[in-house]
């Protein structure tokens, strides 16, 4: 049994970009277990990636190393980092992707991945996931301490994540993500709401999907731990052409 390396990227699964990172990882640590959290973050969508990571990381075993790569600035001056927290490691670009998770998991040690010994010999400016981040993650699973990987840096936040506003009796938030089923995830944490509104359509805050209204938005505490807008057995996002940024208000 080796350690666990978990990937979150926007690389897709078509082109082998996701697969080749596993070749790199297993070349460094053949005992590694590899899990894909997702490779289908929307291209360049740092906020989406940050949300997905925050929603799910805590279900993984203590000590798991997450390699997160949504990295439109690959090859530029943005920093490549590894972060140690009380329970996990996070490796990837310092561009906001880890901002949400590090609100919950305190960064105890942050290093920039500058040591050429722990990357591939040839680094391509278009693919640090393969050449820098996966090697760093794999070496961490082998027990290489972070201070070996590079120089200490201070974690800097980049993500503009909209905060819900708490006014008395209600929370004003917005859609931040839509999932595979067409449910729209908001930035409003689950709570004991009576009802919510979207585009002035009032809908019940229900306990399961089948309680939802067939043609008008209903609301539920979803799998991200956030309020979601949905249509039962249908795609709310498609039917209403719902966009990220659209307002949702939930009433206690």
């Amino acid at each position: 049994m080796g350690s666990l390396l978990v990937f979150l990227t926007d690389f897709g699964t078509e082109d082998g970009f996701a697969g080749v990172m596993k070749g790199v990882a297993l070349s460094i640590n053949p005992d590694l277990k590899l899990v894909d959290l997702t490779h289908n973050v929307r291209s360049f969508d740092i906020l989406g990636g940050a949300l997905i990571l925050k929603a799910h990381y805590r279900y993984f075993p203590k000590g798991t190393v997450f390699v997160g790569v949504v990295d439109p600035g690959v090859g530029t001056k943005r920093k490549a980092i590894a972060v140690r927290t009380p329970n996990y490691y996070f490796v990837g670009p310092m561009n906001g992707l880890f901002d949400l998770v590090l609100q919950e998991e305190k960064p105890l040690e942050v290093v920039e991945l500058t040591n050429p010994r722990y990357r591939l010999k040839v680094v391509n400016n278009t693919f640090h996931g393969r050449d820098i981040f996966t090697p760093a993650g794999a070496y961490i699973t082998k027990g290489i301490p972070l201070r070996e990987l590079g120089k200490k840096v201070t974690y800097k936040r980049f993500l503009k994540f909209p905060k819900p506003k708490r006014v008395r009796g209600k929370v004003i938030g917005e859609i931040v993500y839509t999932d595979k089923f067409g449910n729209a995830v908001t930035n409003i944490p689950c709570g004991k709401f009576r009802f919510c509104t979207f585009r002035n359509l009032k809908g019940r805050f229900v306990k399961n999907f089948l309680q939802g209204n067939k043609s008008s938005p209903s609301f539920i505490c979803g799998s991200f731990g956030l309020v979601e807008v949905f249509l039962p057995m249908d795609s709310f996002a498609d039917r209403f052409n719902a966009q990220r940024g659209e307002r949702v208000i939930c009433h206690f």
Copy 2:
């Protein structure tokens, strides 16, 4: 070497719903091997999921635990179950998803997953795949007997799966599924057919795809063990806008 846990869901691979279940599983049994049969069953398509599971389960090693989750009724009164058969275990909602496989594999023991000890501490009404089914499956791989997981129940069928009709000299069936290549899978088991018809178009029952007619439907014994309608190196489903439920007749 641990045991094998196999997933079949309609969760997609975009949002981390598939990945997070692996975090849960490996937290319970770190030695587990995990395989994705598919996470891309069409949303809410219980019949499609049932067909895919039936087509493939028998190729997995004896003792494999299948976690199957196509579960539009998640959080409602539909039962969460685990089933033991002579060769396998099946864990998921009792909503028809296992009806086809359990026609072949006799259910020896069926329990409702009521024991809170073998689920996550917090159960969300939108995600029993993560909170109930995966934990149950992972505990089964650790040797927990089904009677520990909950109370005995009787398996009940829910799937309305169309049966092909055998009239002398022919079998009358219908399209039940279309695959990635645009081949249309019927409910007609493979047999020594001479030809079949679709929308009154007569086509040969061929031995390999390249024997098919370029512009008119041909028929073959496909990878599900069922008759398929296809166009060689083309998408039959797209070209003919073929729908589930459309009739296919095969002649001996």
Copy 3:
């Protein structure tokens, strides 16, 4: 720790075709590690599959067995083969899929998979990936020598892969693939180019994606080791409706 079996197919991940091969592989060798390089090669796209395999194989550990299946001629007279090279094994149809990789990795031994002992008992004419190639690959990981799998044959090339033309001061090539981000991969190996042209649009050869022009094609040394045409944080292929075969010229 067992050996490593890596899949590259056009089977998609919807229908269980990718997953079931893992059931077959683990039935033969339960200690195997399995990696998906990709199952989303475009349907029947042998050239695309060949390119993806060539781009990534060398990042996998020595001894890795690749099962490659893009196989429109499944069930016809095209040969099912296993190839041993100095560092790897390749198993699949002899239809051009391995032509590019075997330009780099010399085939030391090539056999046709004729021995029924090392395939499934029932072979379906539509799914040699499951019934012939995966079993052969899994048996290779168990140490079965190639000569046991079948009779020696000579590797024959089938792929018509366009060669770039080197004229003095420039390389004339063409688009051979488009990736998930909409970047168009050419057949021009990376070099010290100053600029390139596409449809008479001249664009800089840049060092990272963000240096690219927002509305007009730029060029970069991409993750395949080949020149790519791109738009920064946008899909070049979509915006320009770029097609495989369109000419790209790069100037030193």
